[in-house]
Symmetry: C2
Subunit: 625 residues, 2 copies
């Protein structure tokens, strides 16, 4: 029965974390270790390291280049670590339960492929020292997603998978629609033999027309693509205008509408799945804990389980009373037991109004009439108003060119005074509880220290001066951001901003997913395009690029030459603007097939992921405002 109580508490724990692991009761201790916080946090490190390898692998970020053997060793360690964690889980489960989980198969599969890939790499390196394509690196995000305990991330991915299936018909509609217009364009312009601004034939074959019309749908080549036609015959406006209306404003809107519709639907499904997991876990726990005669959990058993759950000692009676409001009941019923997640997931905080350190130790000062007067003034809303005005004044002074330097010191002194006065009035503990206060401290104190150091030491060599200028800029930036605090005092904005704050954690999942997605595309991009474009050279170092828009727009700095550059270019592609010029640059140094890389990125990121994100924001505001 002691064991049963422990098992039950683990079920409750799993319910709280929405875990659905059918662990073997005889491997209880092993499973507890597997799920312990320390181990879980430790095993976040290895996937992160694995991802981080891209910084040092070939093509590496210049300052971080490392010998390949070090990379090989590190990668091996990471893989072994990941494999060991999965093996740990395998020991806790029945063979069937382990392999029936697609997640585990995916992890084992990816680790195996990566291992084989490493061996091939080793073979090549030991043998001919020739550079080898390491495609398995694309799989790393897949490993991370399956490996991670981040439920939100996996949920999001599930939602995306389902939504993709649903919106496939809209995507097909879009692609077919463009195909029809591409046919018409080809028919129009092949006989006219117009030239585009580079003197190349204009929309004279199907695939080029298709590509250009797809880009036009994204508006990136508007109005340029229509101008040669428009100049030759102004009536062609009635070809391009309807195309834009229908694709950009109707089909894209329909895509979003369908994505939103299905996103909302799947959200509901996910909630049902979560409730199902919680209930099945709690039911298992209840079955273990209940008294078989009364079908209720007795107080005795409850108190033991309560200890196993690691809840605060002083609340056990509160919990009991909440679940057993009627003393005539023999204990906790199944119905009442289901309430336990509400109790455990809500943080019950005992609010104690503590006296400040100053009030306790020097009451004669703190409670003197002058001090009372001062504290009243500081707590008055006018004090906040004055300092809000000072923040604005400071921002204006910052943005005015050549403002007198003493003003800057004055503002710093005033803001320091504010912090001291606030700490005096509210005490350090209460002061630090407001996030904005901490932010103010960080910003003001770092600026103060920095200006003191500069005043005392001075800055001699130019290198130092540059670094200090950059640091000063950062501090200034952070200070100007305090203006955002003022926005919050506008009532109409507070609602919007508070909703925004509430969805930031969920937005983190989107950011992480996008990061992993970028990572795979960056690796693929580096395999395809690394070194093809060289910055700071004429025509980006390639004769083929001579005369292209890519060179004309000075985009040589946007390349796939290392993982950081790749992220920058992928970010640029995410913003869509000029993506066709970037594409044409890489097409020029490779082949037209490269368009597929950029096209697929656009479809997956802009059409699907960003639309799902938009659906998420809309739904958040629909539920909250």
């Amino acid at each position: 029965s002691e064991l049963d109580i422990t098992i039950a508490s683990i079920y409750v724990e799993d319910a709280l974390h929405f875990r659905n692991v059918p662990f073997r009761p005889d491997k209880l201790a092993l499973y507890q270790v597997y799920q312990s916080k320390a181990i879980r946090y430790l095993f976040v490190v290895f996937p992160a390291l694995l991802l981080g390898l891209a910084l040092v692998e070939n093509p590496a970020v210049k300052v971080l280049e490392v010998h390949w053997q070090a990379i090989f060793a590190l990668e091996l360690v990471c893989l072994i670590a990941c494999a060991s964690r999965v093996f740990h889980l395998r020991l806790c489960l029945q063979r069937g339960d382990f392999w029936s989980d697609v997640k585990n198969c995916a992890i084992m599969g990816s680790i195996f492929i990566m291992f084989v890939d490493m061996m091939v790499w080793l073979g090549y390196k030991v043998g001919e020292e020739k550079e080898v394509i390491r495609v398995s690196r694309i799989l790393r995000p897949l490993l991370i997603i399956n490996f991670s305990d981040n439920r939100n991330l996996r949920k999001l991915l599930r939602n995306i998978k389902k939504t993709v299936v649903d919106v496939l018909s809209v995507l097909v509609l879009i692609f077919l629609f463009i195909a029809i217009f591409a046919m018409m364009a080809t028919k129009f312009f092949e006989r006219r033999s117009l030239l585009d601004p580079h003197g190349d034939p204009y929309l004279d074959n199907f695939w080029d027309s298709y590509w250009n019309l797809y880009v036009l749908m994204t508006t990136a080549n508007s109005p340029d693509v229509s101008l040669p036609a428009f100049r030759s015959e102004q009536a062609f406006f009635v070809f391009f205008m309807p195309f834009s209306v229908i694709t950009t404003f109707v089909l894209m809107n329909i895509l979003l509408a369908v994505v939103y519709k299905h996103y909302k639907m799947h959200l509901l499904e996910e909630v049902k799945v979560d409730v199902g997991i919680i209930q099945s876990n709690l039911f298992k726990a209840f079955s273990l804990l209940k008294d078989t005669n009364t079908d209720h959990i007795s107080k005795n058993v409850w108190l033991k389980a309560y200890k196993d759950l690691g809840c605060p000692d002083n609340l056990q009676n509160l919990y009991w009373d909440y679940m057993v409001p009627n003393d005539e009941l023999p204990g906790i019923s199944l119905q009442a037991f289901f309430k336990i997640t509400d109790l455990l997931s809500s943080e019950i905080e005992v609010v104690i109004t503590k006296k400040t350190w100053l009030e306790l130790n020097f009451p004669f000062i703190y409670n003197s009439s002058f001090s009372c007067y001062l504290r009243c003034a500081i707590e008055h809303f006018a004090f906040t108003l004055v300092y809000d005005a000072l923040i604005v004044a400071n921002a204006i002074v910052l943005s005015v060119q050549n403002a007198p330097a003493f003003l800057e010191d004055l503002f710093l002194a005033l803001f320091n005074l504010e912090i001291i006065l606030k700490i005096y009035t509210f005490g350090p503990r209460k002061f630090a509880k407001t996030a904005w206060n901490c932010y103010d401290c960080l910003v003001i104190w770092s600026a103060t220290i920095f200006s003191l150091v500069v005043d005392v030491e001075g800055l001699h060599d130019t290198k130092n001066e540059e670094m200090s200028a950059l640091f000063l800029d950062m501090v200034l930036t952070l200070r100007v951001l305090r203006l955002l605090k003022l926005l919050l005092s506008i009532p109409q904005l507070r609602l919007i901003v508070s909703t925004l704050m509430q969805i930031i954690p969920s937005m983190g999942s989107y950011a992480l997913l996008l990061f992993l997605f970028y990572y795979s595309y960056a690796i693929l991009g580096m395999e395809l395009f690394a070194g093809k474009i060289i910055n700071d050279t004429v025509n980006c170092g390639r004769e083929e690029l001579n005369g292209t828009d890519f060179v004309a727009e000075n985009y040589c700095v946007l390349s796939f030459n290392n993982i950081l550059y790749s992220f920058v270019i992928l970010w640029t592609l995410t913003l869509v603007n000029q993506w066709h010029i970037l594409t044409e640059g890489f097409v020029a140094v490779t082949s037209k097939a490269s368009r597929l890389y950029f096209l697929s990125f656009h479809v997956l990121v802009v059409l699907i992921i960003l639309n799902i994100f938009l659906a998420f924001v809309i739904e958040a505001f629909m539920l909250q405002i």
Copy 2:
């Protein structure tokens, strides 16, 4: 009582059209004339003419230039016509009722301003012959909106007005957020004195930074605006990236979410207003028609009112039975009377299966065994399949370069055969009921006639050849569009397309509103920028434009030199891409204040109207799929 019945029938009529006009019962006949279809349609002509004047007014479309006196006369006629219609309404109403309607005040006001403006114009023309600014033309769309009977348009405008008020706080948030980042950018870059690609100072003052960051929010100058900073210090990526994330992907999404939220809310309000109008009208009608003893409408009275409503004779018993299902009732109750709008607005169609002309007159042919066999074959789904395949094959042949000419004739013959066979089987009446069949006839017959004419006559001079090529292209275009029919046969797409078809009428209101909006902006744009940029000259005819992107991108063809060009450039601005380059072009030939014109257009059209349109599409799909 006869009069009462007529008045009641007018109330019912007004309820059907959601009109809420408190006409004077003693001016009944006048009001009936006012609302008669013929008069209503006639008075659509004058506002349309008034709008059309922009084609011939200075700066006129070249081929349409007209002497100013003709324009003056035409405008006067239009104004007098509009005024007379309002005067007509004034006669039907009490003084107070007329002036308490803001709509009427707006119409009278606009007509008065336009009239004064015309007199000033006349004065200038008669006196000095100097060109004069005619700002009142901007008011024309306002007149149209208030003048028109298009309820959807006014509803839409009301919704936009309300939504603008609601999203104002989000717009303020966006503008303030950009201001904060603009301050930071100024602080960063004024000390670095970087240069942009044109060699101008880079983000070194607040207003330029603000403008560039606003444009960056629209992604139009991405990545160009960040490249000078990125090249000098790659860490600046962390300034521009968060800005883009927050503005483009968070604030813009929030804007849409808030617009959608409020759009949905206002939609509900509008429905309530409509129901209110219907009910108050019907209540007034019922009060006039009811028997004061029984509080019901007797059958006698009903039959007279029914005639006044102009309903089909053969349905009067059906209507009666629908509203009085129980014979024991003394007549139509108020509750039942409210159902009348359902009856009158739904088109009850008597379906009669008629024999085809051929079957009636030549049954021995139509019913011969060969004919039966043939008809079975045509009605079989394989027939449709074969012709679907032919449409695809035809489209492919059209899009292949240099396909043999005889194939084209073959396809035409086959499609003609299809039409004949279908008419033979279904009869012309049933055939013509399907919109696609009519479309096919139009396309195929015009192509057939055209190719016959060309074969017989030949084309001699080049002018003719060019025109015929354009005509042929149009016919081909229409034919390729038949592929869209095929898309409808995919079940997953049918749902989407059917929803799309259902919202097309409402989309018409958006199109009309956007057109009127464009019109005002086009007039304003012509007053500000007409003639400033000249096509087909070096540097667009202006020294100031030398070296700008506007010239480099060959945008001289995009100007405000007449109303049609203005629409093209406003359309380009609606697609957002390159709008900053267009703006800089017009800024270069005027002043930086011109940015306000383009900025306000972007805020009103892209941020507000297009987002409301997007909300409308989303809501349509939420309700229908």
